[in-house]
């Protein structure tokens, strides 16, 4: 009982504390490829700590919902970090709260709350970005749901931990439906975390999709939203790694839980390298082409679903 409790704490704390690091590593590598020395890999932590000390200015249109919803969004991400195998490969305390599909619905909940409380500010730029985020949500959410089901239909259960074990079997790993689902999920990960070629987090306001949702925030709520963004990137990427791409190597036990944080770090370096190559090789897609990008991901995941049931007919 105590060991399960400790593993839970290690997983939750691990996700919360380590997730900004990966964003920092990616930014540093991107700067290096651009021939600059670049910022430190702990820069996201410095940003968050500084933001926690600043005051919050809100527009006169906004009410306290605008100020306090970021706390709810942050806590939603904490809940998600308990239910999927992001650090520890066995179920921990409170894991059966939701299964994979429920996890996808919780991601949608966080996105929904972010968009509505962003609209509270009454700013036109925020409305622009929210409209774009909402208009791509139909493909993003559906791809997330169908990709999770693609794995579920092979293993016969929607329990992410069993799927994680299943994926380690070589003949399943190399099956066509698994490969298609992996590619679809990778494309979705690029979209959900706002990476090129879908979105460039630069300085042009008229091109923003996800950045617009944090445009009007400042101070503590901004710090929580940014941290939530890093956690979302970590959660989705860890699912990609642990259930699709590289499911091997996770350890058990309390000591193993701490080792797992390190093992996840090594796996993440691999994923960040792929993201780096894509980031520095491609330019941002035109806005309406993003729909094509997501539609390809969606069709790949549906094909994977169809193959998985028809193959063994």
């Amino acid at each position: 009982m105590i060991s399960v409790f400790l593993e839970t704490i290690i997983q939750a704390i691990g996700v919360i504390l380590v997730s900004p690091l990966y964003s920092g590593i990616l930014d540093k590598w991107k700067a290096n490829v651009a021939s600059r020395k670049g910022q430190s890999i702990f820069q996201p932590y410095f940003d968050i700590f500084k933001l926690l000390k600043k005051e919050t200015t809100v527009s006169s249109n906004a009410s306290s919902i605008f100020i306090y919803t970021p706390y709810v969004v942050f806590s939603t991400y904490i809940v998600i970090s308990l239910v999927i195998p992001v650090v520890y490969p066995e179920p921990i305390l409170l894991t059966p709260t939701v299964d994979f599909l429920g996890g996808a619905l919780l991601f949608s909940l966080a996105g929904f709350l972010k968009i509505i409380e962003a609209m509270e500010s009454g700013s036109n730029f925020v409305a622009l970005g929210s409209a774009r985020a909402a208009s791509f949500s139909f493909l993003g959410e559906s791809t997330l749901i169908t990709v999770f089901f693609a794995v579920a239909l092979i293993t016969g259960t929607n329990n992410p931990y069993i799927e994680h074990e299943f994926a380690q079997i070589p003949q399943y790993y190399l099956a066509l439906d698994h490969i298609l689902a992996t590619v679809a999920f990778f494309m979705l990960w690029l979209f959900e975390t706002g990476k090129l070629p879908v979105e460039s987090s630069g300085l042009a306001e008229l091109g923003m999709i996800d950045d617009a949702l944090i445009y009007e925030h400042s101070g503590k709520p901004l710090a929580l939203l940014k941290w939530g963004g890093y956690m979302k990137q970590y959660l989705l990427g860890s699912v990609l790694l642990n259930v699709f791409l590289l499911p091997w190597g996770m350890q058990l036990g309390v000591l193993g839980a701490m080792e797992d944080i390190g093992i996840m770090f090594i796996k993440w370096l691999f994923l960040l390298f792929i993201a780096l190559v894509i980031d520095t090789s491609l330019a941002k897609l035109r806005l309406f082409k993003v729909q094509d990008f997501l539609a390809v991901a969606f069709v790949l995941s549906i094909t994977s679903l169809l193959l998985s049931v028809i193959q063994n007919a």
Binding site: A34, R36, K37, F46, K50, K53, E55, E216, S218, V277
Partner: protein
């Protein structure tokens, strides 16, 4: 183009970037590589007819000089880049300093020089300095240019929209004292960076000191 460079053009940015390597210089730990002589400190003696009254009683006022070179060769540049003044700084920005540049009426020169400090040679991001596109995320407001009628209200709006603690930085002589055409910005600055346009080394050193780092 010949066959040799065709391969170069086809190689993608990732490989090109790796091939080029890191080009950032080690300033301010070491000495700057090359300093453009104008926009550094002027020194000399004699009476000249300075159009902005920057030379007064044989002393040179950095906050008014637009480097028109009318006083040359009586007065000449020394290559000293430390001509900025930091009246207020804040330690919480030591590791993370977001600046919001606002152009209230420039000729474009200050914008170019400010943009240059994000280039690989100077690389402000290694100190944690970043540009941002909204004043709500910003810690410092960089004002460039003379005060024009149309920008009075946007400037005040931007100032109001920034959360405390904040710094006001006046970049370039136009923002400090109006240059040759007008008056400076209405908001009293905490950091003054003279020059027309200011030297990127000066800007970088001023920002580093404004955010609380002692170099």
């Amino acid at each position: 183009m010949d066959i040799g460079s065709w391969g170069e053009i086809y190689m993608n940015w990732f490989l090109k970037g790796l091939k080029k390597g890191i080009k950032t210089e080690k300033f301010p730990k070491t000495n700057p590589i090359d300093i453009a002589p104008w926009s550094t400190e002027l020194n000399g003696s004699g009476n000249v007819n300075c159009p902005t009254k920057a030379i007064d009683n044989e002393s040179w006022n950095s906050e008014r000089c637009i480097y028109c070179r009318r006083c040359y060769p009586l007065y000449s540049p020394t290559g000293n880049i430390d001509i900025f003044k930091v009246n207020k700084k804040n330690n919480i920005f030591r590791r993370s300093f977001y600046v919001y540049p606002i152009d209230i009426g420039t000729c474009g020169g200050c914008n170019l020089e400010l943009k240059l400090i994000s280039s690989p040679q100077y690389d402000m991001t290694r100190f944690g300095i970043f540009f941002t596109n909204t004043p709500r995320h910003a810690d410092a407001l960089i004002i460039m240019g003379i005060m024009t009628e149309g920008m009075k209200e946007p400037l005040l709006n931007a100032y109001e929209a920034m959360p405390e603690p904040k710094l006001i930085i006046a970049l370039g002589v136009c923002a400090i004292s109006g240059g040759i055409l007008g008056t400076g910005s209405q908001i009293k600055p905490d950091v003054i960076i003279p020059g027309c346009p200011p030297n990127p080394y000066t800007i970088l050193k001023a920002l580093i000191e404004a955010k609380g780092d002692k170099e």
